[in-house]
Amino acid sequence: MKVYLDYAATTPVKKEVLEEMLPYFNQHYGNPSSIHSFGRESKKVIDLARDRIAKTLAAKSDEIFFTGGGSEADNWAIKGVAYALKSKGNHIITSKIEHHAVLHTCQQLEKEGFEITYLDVDHHGLINLEDLRRAIRNNTILITIMYANNEIGTVQPIKAIADIAKENSILLHTDAVQAYGSFKINPEILGIDLLSISAHKIYGPKGVGALYIKKGTKIHPLLHGGAQEKRRRAGTENLPGIVGFGKAAEIAYNNIEEHTEKLINYRDQLINKLMGKIPYTRLNGHPTKRLPGNVNISFEFIEGESLLLSLDMVGIAGSSGSACTSGSLDPSHVLMGIGLSHEIAHGSLRLSLGDLTTQEEIDYVIQHLPPIVERLRQMSPLYEKVKGEAKSV
């Protein structure tokens, strides 16, 4: 049995989405900038996709700008605002548990002379609103806090963050790559100025994303060149990709309640049953303020990569916050950010559920995971000690 539980890493393209994309590879393939019929047709479908995505965000179509993915949207939002407002100030506030597309962009800006405050998070992964208030200076030009975290699923109090940003007339960007498709998001009402999304997290294709830019927001382009995207993002549009993104967004928001309800049910089954069956575990992230599809559990005494490999051998695909998965020795900055010790962070597992997840798959994981954890623990010199202590009680 193959059980894919890594939907937070990426999702398969849904059948209806792929079907809608197909004609745009080799039937209607015109360059949207061309004035002939081939080009006009392409322009029309890009506008349609833009409308569809705008609708899911209750935004205007001309506030949606397509990019080559979520990372590009994050880079653009942050650098674009930083450069546009640098005469106003050079201070940016973010959090310690942002995606690397945000963190590394901020670090790059630091090298260029910007000042960045990286807010701490509590053990659930939530930023502290008082910390945020205190971090604001008169040269603060941007707050960038993710909507929901990709590793531990924690959902930030974005409305309260936006209110603080508004009170201080500071622009707010949020990386909603994980949240989009799981929550109804209305940036206008929430008070979000810029918001990043990515198609491949919502059953659309890889390599296409978008940045919502509230009308009137000052931002420089990141990619210079042609006049595409109202001269704000150069490059021939990824036509089928954009078509697929539009369709995927429409589907995601057509049955969002149903979809999230199902996910929450599966998620909570996994959390409760795994933690019930396996001792020495810890749920990472917030118990309720979390992504509907996110399970993140640390298993003490074992290391994440060996856990992932063992799961892979029985067909289960998950992900880990262990640095070992990347050849680096430090575990995930997110798990460290919520205060885990190195060894516990190393033994964490993320299972992320999606639209194609079934009860059978959940049962399969509940059946196969505990013996795998036990087997690895039996090999672990750290577990030995605990058993020894237990024995000696």
Binding site: E303, S322, C324, L382
Partner: protein
């Protein structure tokens, strides 16, 4: 990513466990880095007659531990001290570059156990000259992602 040999030694590790009243025990690594290898030796007449290990770590940490124990089992101490990390990696049909430090750890674990034996029995092995079982090894550069 991993060779079939690595996967075999990971899924079916040889010599896992502990030795009761071992003649030597060595432990290297650090939970911070996500790797700890502990090696137990039974030594009779300078020959390693039994070896067991326990490892907290990634797939290649477990596989290199397993392979290292297999290589040194039945060998003399002198022979075991000649074990190099690349010999372990080669025996596993290679390791990904980012995982070569696991083979280093396996080599260190063997040396560390023999060091323990030497200390307990007041023996001198020139191969252990300069070896410090508590030395921390270089960290690789970090920073990677979750998708």
């Amino acid at each position: 990513m991993y060779s079939d040999k690595v996967m075999d030694h990971f899924m079916n590790p040889r010599n896992v466990g502990e030795i009761e009243n071992p003649d030597a025990v060595g432990q290297v690594g650090n939970p911070k880095c996500g790797d700890i290898m502990k090696m137990y030796l039974r030594i009779e007449n300078d020959v390693i007659t039994d070896v067991k290990f326990k490892t907290f770590g990634c797939g290649s940490a477990i596989a290199t531990s397993s392979m290292a124990t297999e290589i040194i089992k039945g060998k003399t101490i002198k022979e075991a001290l000649r074990l190099t990390n690349s010999a372990v990696a080669d025996a596993l049909d290679g390791l990904p570059p980012v995982k070569m430090h696991c083979s280093v750890l396996a080599e260190q674990a063997v040396k560390s156990a023999i060091y323990d034996y030497a200390t307990k029995n007041d023996l001198y092995f020139e191969e252990l000259e300069g070896f410090d079982p508590n030395e921390e090894h270089d960290h690789h550069d970090h920073g990677d992602d979750h998708c």
